[in-house]
């Protein structure tokens, strides 16, 4: 039993070393305090202030988009990514405009995933932000 505990402690301690090195290596690439870096978020007020300079992307499931959405927004979710992305790039996209992605609430992850894919896969040069509070915040602001 003693040997088992000692072996376990040795393994747990050994793993700290490469983890610490990796933490140093990734220190500027990881958002340490919140899932989305503050610099990637935008409030409803600010985003609305951008007016026609902003393109709104709805990352929620299509059924929720059809129920209601931000005026002028397009539905771009992971279920129909290729088709919706081509439609977005062909009809609305412009390199100068800012892109605001939103999903249902503060805790949803869809907007973050879509924003990441727009940056990394579609390689859009636009400033891409995630709406802080998502659709819930938009609705609350309208009241």
């Amino acid at each position: 039993m003693k040997a088992l505990l000692r072996q376990s402690v040795v393994l747990l301690a050994l793993a700290l070393l490469p983890a610490a090195v990796e933490a140093l290596y990734f220190r500027d690439k990881i958002s340490w305090q919140s899932r989305v870096a503050d610099s990637d978020l935008v409030s409803v007020d600010v985003a609305r202030g951008w007016g026609t300079n902003a393109l709104w992307v709805d990352a929620r499931p299509t059924i929720e988009f059809e129920r209601d959405h931000v005026p002028g927004a397009i539905s771009l979710n992971e279920d129909r990514w290729s088709e919706a992305l081509s439609e977005f790039l062909g009809k609305q996209w412009s390199p100068e405009k800012k892109i605001v992605v939103y999903c249902s609430s503060q805790s949803c992850n869809l907007a973050e995933d879509v924003a990441r894919r727009l940056r990394e896969e579609a390689k859009l040069p636009n400033e891409i932000r995630i709406l802080n509070g998502g659709w819930e915040a938009w609705v609350a602001q309208k009241r």
Partner: protein, 171 residues
């Protein structure tokens, strides 16, 4: 000094029993070879899973975050630490150095992971564990659990296989 099947005989080096218990010498018996193969397979799987996650801790941190069970900063630290623990434990299984400690830790990790997966599913979260990178992204919840339980079963077998039997200990 009590002698177990996992300990080299005193004449093989004269190390202390505590030191010896971290090393299990290979045996020529079929049963022993089978354990060895299972240990190498499971160890290799954990090394692979660990390397995939260690290469991109940001994605793994996001996967941990999807479970919505831990504050983000803790998830980030786990994303940096757990892959290396998996790699080391996997290597320990394969090389049989610190063998029982690695089986113990991996069994604990698998159990925790299975509980977290079931809880997340019960809460209606559509999670991707990202355990093996993109290879398992499209797996259904049922398949995920089946694979997890298979791994857990393998680890439990390894644990039992590495535990000295009473009659061996007293012989």
């Amino acid at each position: 000094m009590k002698q177990t099947p996992n300990l080299p005989s005193p004449s093989s080096g004269g190390q202390a029993a505590e030191e010896n218990s971290s090393f299990i010498p290979p045996s020529s018996s079929f049963r022993s070879i089978s354990w060895r193969v299972v240990a190498i397979l499971i160890g290799g799987l954990f090394v692979y899973a660990g390397v995939i996650k260690a290469l991109d801790p940001v994605v793994f941190a996001r996967d941990i975050g999807n479970y919505q069970m831990l504050p983000w900063p803790i998830g980030v630290w786990l994303a940096l630490y757990l892959p290396w623990l998996e790699i080391l434990c996997g290597l320990a299984l394969m090389t049989r150095i610190l063998y029982r400690g690695s089986v113990f830790i991996l069994t604990g990790l698998m159990s925790l992971f299975i509980i977290a997966t079931i809880v997340a599913n019960a809460r209606g979260l559509d999670i991707s564990c990202g355990c093996f990178g993109h290879a398992t992204k499209s797996l259904s919840f049922t398949w995920h659990l089946t694979l997890d339980f298979l791994l857990l079963g393998g680890l439990v077998l390894l644990w039992k296989g590495s535990t000295p039997r009473t009659d061996d200990r007293t012989s």
